[in-house]
Amino acid sequence: MASTTVKTEQHDQPPKEKVVEKVDYLNLPCPIPYEEIHREALMSLKPDVFEGFRFEFNKGLSPQFALTHSVSMGVTEIPSQSPETIKIPTAQYEFGANFMDPKLMLLGRVLTDGRLNARVKWDFTDNFSLKANALLVNEPHMSHGMFNFDYKGTDYRAQFQMGNGALFGANYIQSVSPHLSLGGEVFWAGQHRKSGIGYAARYNTDKMVATGQVASTGMVALGYVHKVSEKVKKFDFVHCLVWDLYDEFLRPFFKLQVSLASDFMYNYMSRDVTASAGYDYILRQARLRGKIDSNGCVSAFLEERLNMGLNFILSAELDHSKKDYKFGFGLTVGQ
């Protein structure tokens, strides 16, 4: 009979020597698509805070096909000229169907007020892919749709966009070094007779991602996300609370991922500046995101796993400058 011994903490691998690798400039990794360049910062800093109650039910009919039913009761805001926002209570039901295949993804959503949202993503070769996105509404001249053709090269990506209202755009992003990628985009909107050009850069290592984007519409956006996940000593709540606040909030323990993100947006045409900072804690049973803004807006979003396939969501947004407070809760059932 084998004797079972309690395994003490063992090192995963012997520590490797740090080898300075020569950069192989002909073999760079493929960069992230241009529209996802701010992906980490957006995921951490912009959770979809909502107001009211939300219930979602996901039912998988087959490994590839799933239906979703979603009910949301809450308040919608109408932008108005007076400084007070007008809130109207609304309730809606949304039915959706998803088909997910490695090569083809189809997604459709219908709401009770007649809006239809459809998305297609089709990889017809290894390198080419087609994406389409349409939103149809009951009011005339308010529907819109967009097609994207993507080409993925060895260390670059190119995309061409066509939308209704004579909207054309193209963007290109290239890996310049194993960590740095640079890109640019141009667009032309025929309906509004506007055109624009923009540049973006992204520097990422294992621990951090820094992005910057400038556009001729006057937008300058910078973002920085830092990932912290180390193994630390056993966590002592009271001790840390009293003695070391840094230890409590920034030093996680096993299997914990923390991202700290900050974002800076500046519009040089309208002189509008916004800076925000936030955190994103991914724990085993929960995911908590919090953000504070320079407009005096504080928001938090918590998703907690109550049971297998049952998630509980809580969202809060406090706007101290406008004195507008929004709270929401919800339940998500399904895979």
Binding site: T5, V6, F235, F237, Y279, Y281, Q285, G290, I292
Partner: protein, 103 residues
């Protein structure tokens, strides 16, 4: 001014001559209360009360903002970390009790 009255309202009576100790137009009390030092002192007290009221109000406002922000940003974090801690403790205890789970 105390002597102005609204239509149909009630107003304070006009200031009468204060009772004088020694008679005459300028009595001791009125002389003291109209002197330079006392009026300066009164002005300083008014200003001090104004500043103190403003300070109290802005401290109250700052405390409200700090308190609600702490409640929304920090308290869920503490609660979740505590739950994670409990889960870890439970797993550690079970690992020592039953032996480490097979990889």
């Amino acid at each position: 001014m105390a002597s102005q009255s609204r239509k149909g309202g009630v107003s304070l009576p006009d200031r009468r001559n204060p009772k004088s100790g020694g008679g005459g137009a300028a009595s001791i009390i009125s002389r003291i209360s109209q002197s330079e030092i006392v009026s300066r002192g009164r002005q300083a007290a008014c200003d001090g009360a104004y500043v103190a009221k403003k300070l109290l109000k802005s401290t109250g406002k700052a405390a409200w903002i700090a308190g609600t922000t702490f409640l929304v940003l920090v308290v869920p974090l503490i609660i979740e970390m505590d739950r994670e801690q409990q889960l870890n403790d439970l797993e550690l205890q079970q690992a020592t009790l039953l032996g480490a789970p097979p990889k």
